[in-house]
Assembly symmetry: C2
Homo-oligomer: 320 residues x 2
Amino acid sequence: MSKDKRKLVVIALGGNAIKQSNENGTAEEQFRNVEVTCEQLVKMNTLGYKLVITHGNGPQAGNLLIQQEEGKELVPAQPLDVVGAMTQGQIGYMFQNTLQNYFRQIGKEIPITSLITQVLVKKDDPDFNDPSKPVGPFYTEEEAKRLEKEKNYVVKKVKPNGEKLWRRVVPSPEPYTIIEAESIKALIEARAIVIASGGGGIPVMKKDDDSLSGLEAVIDKDKAGNKLAQEVNADIFLVLTDVENACINFGKPDEKALQKISVAEAEEYLAAGHFLAGSMGPKVTAAIRFVKAGGEKAIITSLQKAADALEGKAGTIIEK
Amino acid sequence: MSKDKRKLVVIALGGNAIKQSNENGTAEEQFRNVEVTCEQLVKMNTLGYKLVITHGNGPQAGNLLIQQEEGKELVPAQPLDVVGAMTQGQIGYMFQNTLQNYFRQIGKEIPITSLITQVLVKKDDPDFNDPSKPVGPFYTEEEAKRLEKEKNYVVKKVKPNGEKLWRRVVPSPEPYTIIEAESIKALIEARAIVIASGGGGIPVMKKDDDSLSGLEAVIDKDKAGNKLAQEVNADIFLVLTDVENACINFGKPDEKALQKISVAEAEEYLAAGHFLAGSMGPKVTAAIRFVKAGGEKAIITSLQKAADALEGKAGTIIEK
């Protein structure tokens, strides 16, 4: 087999690539959004890039947790690791079906598949002591306190006013290793487009007997995306979000969209607090890590600008 | 890379490999059952076989459909193709995690992964005109008639007495092609253990524009297992169920467990009505198809006898 010299891009898709915040999440809506996303992915393939895709699962996991809650008298709810696996199947199917259909239309035969993916986290991660990531339905204080007792949930008041202000919070530990990296690499080698590590991957931890055990936790998908990109030796790590560029002085009169910057500049801006903690912050962090680990460049941009950004014509591009 | 000369076995696991009928389906219960199953799978690997695993999803899809039903005022239910994808993620994760842990214990490094898998069915399949496969919750006649109107469900009375006698029925078309076969083969080539086509695969059909579209249908997992076995060029197709052998004159005084039989004998017994339509019938049909398509042998037996059966010492073995 002749060596495939195309550059490998790992693409981390945001939640709006699958479900818009003003939608309920019917399958039709989700397939429609996925179609818009896949059109851009096909463009990148046509430009000559090998693709590995990862994606968020917040809205899908949220919906499933609500369904589990509503059905709990009849059917046992599954824990978060299993919920993560279920949404990997759900979203992976939507992407692989839609991408396959695009390529069928242009007569290109490319194996496309989604892999159920676990990601190793570490026992001593500080987030286990102070869980920060809200998941699932909103509760009244009474409901929240009951779940705290009955199910050992950590609950937090997450809204200032309204009827249901409380939510469960779970740890969001740092990702260390993609357990299925060898399989993903074998598929890339076979010229496949792979969808992997959805929702940040299923978090697993080493127990005393060295076995890996699923956790009630959620890994940041951009941070996991960086790990994935590193482990498959990607050339480019492309983080897609709802804006075209990362900005400094965001929301201020002197707001400035970042274009090509160095890792050192990115680190400086990050340290100065230019990027929001729950939003652009983890994306810039993941991008910096990728380039520092030897990646050629990391890009943060919107879906619409993604193909242009790969060609150096849009987005925030972080290089050594 | 030196050619891997071990024989390839595709194993179709029954529902009881994951959830026993007297259980509710908590994650703990399911992981416990999966552990028992994986112990046998590890044995087969140790005997020197390459493994591809497929599995049913009836109880898991059933539970998810109930949760969707209970949550329907808050969250849109997903259609059956998406439900199939979700259970592939759920069950695939349980198997790959548990298998990985067994191999970690004995220090064997084998890539193990689950693939989201679609299976092509044909538009003119007679089952689309007369759906036969019951899925999801039981309904009262009133509820059933309402769903018939509102959602175009085909409903049937499936129990003679009790409060809720009705269920939705969906088509169970014949499987034709495993869409992700190339990816599965690439992983086998990379010496991986692959879990694929869970729940009989996600049924998809060709539309007029040649695109593949998911269906509200369910494919028999043993029949899909045979297709999978054929497409990956398996040597052996192993169908696991809750009995050690297929029997003729089942339940009669002259009941006889079948051991080594020819395809011709199997076809004769099948035609004579020895095997139950919803149970042993499709397994024997799938086994016959596999051997007729060139497979070395097909085996029907219990989980406990599986390793022995591979060595020719147990089970019903169908050969040319």
